[in-house]
């Protein structure tokens, strides 16, 4: 404790004395001096450490400039853990990041090891307001209540409360138009029907040009274990209408899978398959992610978003995950020219549940 009494290194006057201006009184608690306080060698070492960090920081800034000028931005090097990485990126990041970090680290080290280490007392002022102030505030409030007549005119009070309760309603009503339908269209009907109808050809989904220059899919083109992401042929009529195109894809997208007919344990309707080819909606019944993650040996269809799993060999029932409804199945048949077509629209709405679905 001898060092502590040496006034020359303390930031404050000794306990119980009147503190100097700008200083705080030293707390009257036990104090354990640091190594740097007692050992001048340690203090010298800490001094060198801090200065070393600042010098290294300067050095890194120089290296940054050198790296910026000399390293070609397209150079790729291999670094363990990071893998293939742009040499310029790595060098610039490490040098500049290191330079900034070392300034901070040096400052912290300086403060911790060399700046005065002493526990001081800092007085906190009273948190409550003076009694006069609180009384005046209360009186002002009472005067306002009296002058406005809020208590005296009950009709005004009640109508004001009514007006405030009603004014958010337009904000909620306007939400209706977030649904961009033709005027007067019923959202429930739109969500409950798709473009599939009896005789609608099924075509492979190839993106923007889907349905062009393809007559359809023949059943023999899908091998057992095969998978085809497909759309109705009519999607090509919506090619140039971006909104209608995306909306139709969002509802009408299906997958065709083929399994050995003996492996089909149940379907959503009698004879809805065609020789083991099953058509299911591609839109998850949970929150509507497109699913084509089909395991052809287990017949499981797994949604990559939340791991809902459907068994396509068993009516598309949910066997795992958050989905609450089975995957809607599309009844299919073959038309006179031998191409796969839908036999009707889906019998239940596809995609996630909605309010009026029941």
């Amino acid at each position: 404790m001898s060092k502590r009494d040496d006034a020359s290194i303390l930031p404050a006057n000794p306990p119980h004395g009147e503190p100097k201006l700008g200083y705080l009184p030293v707390a009257d608690i036990p104090h354990k001096p640091r190594v740097t306080d007692t050992d001048p060698k340690a203090a010298r070492r800490a001094e060198r450490q801090v200065a070393g960090m600042f010098i290294l920081s300067m050095l890194l800034v120089v290296l940054f400039v050198v790296a910026f000028v000399t390293i070609d931005v397209t150079t790729v090097i291999y670094v363990p853990v990071l893998g293939e990485v742009g040499a310029s990126n790595l060098a610039l990041g490490l040098t500049f990041g290191g330079a900034v970090f070392l300034i901070g680290a040096g400052a912290i080290q300086w403060a911790k090891k060399l700046m005065p280490d002493v526990e001081v007392v800092q007085e906190r002022h009273n948190m409550t307001s003076p009694k006069d102030d609180t009384e005046e505030a209360a009186a002002t409030y009472e005067r306002g209540k009296e002058e406005s007549g809020f208590a005296r005119y009950p009709i005004i009070r009640r109508t004001l409360i009514g007006a405030l309760a009603l004014f958010p309603i337009p904000l909620i009503v306007m939400l209706r138009d977030l649904w961009q339908t033709p005027a007067g269209a019923n959202p429930v009907e739109i969500l409950s029907s798709t473009s599939w109808r009896d005789g609608e050809r099924i075509v492979p989904d190839i993106g923007h040009n889907t349905g062009e220059n393809v007559p359809g899919i023949r059943p023999e083109e899908i091998p057992v274990g095969g998978l085809v992401s497909a759309l109705p042929m009519s999607i090509k009529d919506l090619k140039d209408d971006v909104v209608a195109n995306m909306r139709d894809r969002g509802k009408s997208a299906i997958i065709l899978v083929r399994m050995d007919p003996e492996e089909i344990r149940s379907q959503q309707g009698e004879g809805w398959d065609y020789q083991g080819i099953l058509a299911y909606s591609k839109i998850c019944t949970h929150v509507g992610c497109p699913i084509a993650l089909y395991e052809h040996r287990t017949h499981h269809l797994l949604c990559p978003c939340h791991q809902s799993t459907f068994d396509l060999a068993d009516s598309g029932d949910v066997i795992f995950g958050p989905a609450a409804r089975r995957m809607p199945q599309l009844p299919i048949r073959v038309d006179g020219e031998g191409y796969l077509v839908a036999a009707s629209d889906f019998e239940e709405p596809v995609g996630p549940s909605f309010w009026e679905r029941g």
């Binding site: 990071l82 990485v85 990126n89 095969g226 993650l293 089909y294 795992f320």
Partner: protein, 261 residues
């Protein structure tokens, strides 16, 4: 133990432990081994016989003496040469243990041996042949169209950047970053393990070539920042930031707060 507990209290130990843990996590992303493609070859009689001999030796315990399948492995009648080549040339077959997932590993057969086995299996019944060099030539294919087709048909399992992803019950779709065009083509054609088949009728050769071109572009794409974390995207990157970077920030805050000795 006193020696250890004494060291544990030192402020730098926490930082060092943390840095070590971070290194272990980062190092966990190891690359998978690559494999070399083999030339397609159609079987002469001696090659078919050699293939049968190799099959009886290495494959028949699971797939049956006549490749008719057994409790441990599916029938190989009609799977075609492409299937044999894909499975054996990537080291997936023979499997080291029965199971739904057959991981790619070191290839134990030579190219000639694989060609012989392919020829024998192809001689059993017609099936997808090993793709020709012409079918695999994607030099003129449209990469952007390939991206569209990849996202429609492949991305659900293999992830939009080809990094691979999880399936049910511990199975997984492998990363495509080290797959050769021939392997990718054969996989689409034959549907290995739980992958469905994308036949040449519903996904024509030209479209398969576009997909090959897209995967090739993904494989060539540089990663200027490094540590791609399986290219799984913002969720994984965010998680990494929240755990690793926040841990480093907390370590720094702890260091600032510790009283110097």
């Amino acid at each position: 133990m006193k020696f250890l507990s004494h060291r544990r209290r030192k402020p730098w130990v926490a930082t060092a432990l943390l840095a070590m843990a971070l290194l272990v996590v980062g190092g966990g992303y190891a690359a998978v081994s690559s494999t070399a493609p083999a030339e397609a070859a159609m079987g002469s009689q001696t090659q078919v016989e050699e293939g049968k001999r190799l099959f009886l030796e290495g494959c028949s315990s699971c797939h049956g003496l006549e490749a008719q399948g057994s409790m441990n492995g599916p029938s190989l009648i009609g799977v075609g040469a492409a299937s044999v080549h894909f499975q054996v040339a990537t080291g997936r077959m023979p499997m080291s243990a029965p199971g739904a997932q057959a991981p790619a590993k070191e290839v134990i057969y030579t190219e000639d041996e694989i060609a012989a086995m392919s020829a024998w299996v192809a001689s059993l019944a017609p099936g997808p042949a090993i793709p020709t060099a012409e079918q695999l030539d994607f030099a003129d294919a449209d990469v952007a169209e390939g991206g569209v087709l990849f996202r429609i048909n492949c991305a659900q399992c293999h992830q939009a950047a080809g990094g691979g992803g999880a399936l049910t019950d511990g199975k997984y779709a492998p990363s495509l970053m080290n797959a050769t065009p021939q392997e990718i083509y054969e996989a689409m054609l034959t549907g290995p393990q739980n992958m469905p088949i994308f036949s040449d009728e519903t996904l024509p050769v030209a479209e398969k070539q576009q997909i090959l071109a897209y995967i090739d572009a993904l494989q060539q794409a540089p990663s200027p920042g490094g540590l791609s974390l399986g290219r799984l995207g913002p969720v994984v990157e965010g998680l990494f930031m929240w755990t690793a970077v926040f841990a480093a920030l907390i370590a720094a805050a702890v260091w600032i707060g510790i009283k110097a000795r």
